[in-house]
């Protein structure tokens, strides 16, 4: 079943591409702003080979990496504190609940005011947007630790640090990883959006710039590149997740059977 599913999924994907190809080839006028995928792919190879796109990819990935890393450290740290210390959480909960649902791109103008239009601004909005899923999942993960586990740590006389490293962190880790995975896509969204608002490099800038100068095939090629990057980052993450969280996958599978 699971072995056949990707093959079927792949067939649907190829089918869509074929329909796109056929539709786009119906008229030259249509192909001007809706080029067939074969041409988009050719353009992608060309701009990659000429080195034209690589600088933009590197700029975007660098912002992504900085923003994601800072958000991860900041939100996991804050989440652990808030999860462990209830009075602190009660203090900050209303603020979190107010800020969290606000669409993150709304912070871009504020970030421009304070940080200008450089990398700092783009990294800052990425950090802001990525932090929420990581923060909330970390808090939940810590608070969901069973009292029996706390009591086990106590009866074995674990000190505060040992309790943190040997119990809290591993017990909350599946939830933390879930937050990190959700934030992966969000980071890419915010990097692209902020580059579209104001930038002179990066994939977001490149896509919008090529659209404005009516280089439609280049625009599509860069979008495809972005999609592939997103896909590969997710695959990379799932690989790491499957490796470090194998115990949790086994445990939840067991619970499903029972």
């Amino acid at each position: 079943m699971s072995a056949r599913l990707p093959a079927k999924g792949l067939a649907v994907l190829l089918g869509c591409l074929a329909v796109w190809e056929l539709l786009a080839r119906q008229s030259v006028a249509l192909a001007a702003y809706f080029p067939p995928p074969s041409q988009v792919l050719l353009t992608l190879v060309t701009i990659l080979a000429s080195g034209d796109l690589l600088g933009h990819v590197a700029a975007s990935l660098s912002r992504f990496a900085q923003g994601y890393a800072v958000a991860g450290a900041l939100a996991v740290g804050t989440g652990l504190c808030l999860g462990l210390w209830r009075p602190l959480h009660a203090l900050f909960e209303p603020l979190i609940e107010l800020l969290r649902p606000m669409p993150s791109p709304a912070t871009i103008p504020i970030a421009i005011l304070f940080l200008g239009i450089g990398d700092e601004m783009k990294v800052a909005v990425t950090v802001y947007a990525c932090s929420w899923p990581i923060l909330l999942n970390t808090i939940d993960g810590v608070r969901a630790i069973d009292p029996v586990l706390w009591n086990t740590a106590a009866t074995f006389r674990l000190g505060p640090w040992q309790r943190f490293w040997k119990v809290v962190l591993p017990a909350a880790s599946p939830q933390i990883v879930t937050g990190l995975r959700v934030s992966l896509a969000i980071a890419l969204i915010l990097v692209t959006t902020s580059e579209m608002v104001v930038s002179n490099d990066g994939l977001g800038f490149y896509i919008l710039d090529r659209q404005r100068s009516f280089q439609i095939r280049e625009m599509y090629a860069a979008i495809v590149a972005l999609a592939v990057i997103g896909y590969m980052l997710n695959r990379l993450f799932l690989g790491l997740d499957g490796w470090t969280m194998a115990w949790h996958k086994g445990l939840t599978r067991k619970e499903e059977i029972l």
Binding site: V148, N151, F156, A171, K254
Partner: protein
């Protein structure tokens, strides 16, 4: 060696009046004894164990271990829980769970800890399962892991909170005998809480019968049956049947008390 003196524990619920879980509980346990505590369900048996283990502060009264007041989890005493699946660390293999029992013991090398953990896994009959995760094992085997993790610390006192309560009858019988063998060879003191009267009589030197809430000891029954005990002959012994009969009457009188 272990003395509980006039122990009183009150809870203050969010709404309503104070709940007195323990009214005034007193008893002494001599070194090397196997003592069981039985009582109607909800009478505060678990609260009593948590107070003895230093996990919960009594409202009044004292717990003395070797004449010294217990104010926090004391060295040389381990509380073992009924919920082995919550108490064991799902992210650690069976061996690493047992190692956990010694990891915060100063002055032990990794190799020494490893050797001790393997020795105790063998004692509880789990050699060959070192690399498994706890959730891959049956309930009875998981509780064996928890017992090995507790015993590897060589506690003087082992408190057990309905450890076999969620296991099926045959597994229970197996673990009762395994526990008695371990107790005899390791010469620990065991305080065993159960709601199973027969189990209490079968295992113990002394059975303490608790009243309904607010809880106190209503009778101490000495069980003068030879060891090693035997699931068939011990349970058929007239003294066994007499003790069971007596305790059953005490508890059913308690339960029917308005």
């Amino acid at each position: 060696m272990l003395e509980v003196r006039d122990l009183r524990k009150e809870f203050q619920p969010l709404s309503g009046s104070t709940v007195v879980a323990l009214a005034s509980v007193s008893f002494r346990v001599a070194a090397g004894q196997f003592v069981s505590i039985v009582g109607p369900s909800g009478c505060g048996k678990s609260t009593l164990l948590q107070c003895i283990a230093g996990l919960s502060r009594p409202t009044a009264g004292h717990v003395l271990l070797h004449g010294r007041e217990v104010t926090g989890p004391p060295e040389g005493l381990i509380l073992l829980f009924q919920e082995y699946n919550k108490s064991l660390m799902a992210w650690r293999s069976v061996l690493k769970n047992v190692r956990f029992g010694l990891e915060n013991r100063p002055g032990m090398s990794r190799n020494q800890i490893d050797a001790e953990a393997r020795r105790y896994l063998e004692l509880v009959g789990l050699e060959g399962f070192e690399a498994h995760y706890p959730w891959e094992l049956s309930g009875g085997m998981q509780q064996r892991v928890a017992i090995a993790r507790a015993l590897v610390r060589r506690p003087e006192v082992l408190l057990m909170d309905e450890p076999f309560g969620s296991l099926d009858a045959l597994t229970r019988i197996e673990l009762e005998d395994a526990l008695l063998r371990l107790w005899e060879s390791l010469q620990a003191t065991i305080v065993f809480v159960t709601h199973d009267i027969e189990e209490a009589v079968y295992l113990s030197d002394e059975v303490y019968v608790l009243s309904r809430r607010p809880c106190q000891v209503i009778e101490e029954i000495a069980v003068k049956l030879e060891r090693p005990r035997n699931q068939l002959t011990t349970r058929e012994d007239p003294r066994f049947i007499q003790a069971r009969h007596h305790i059953f009457e005490l508890i059913s009188k308690e339960m029917s008390r308005a």
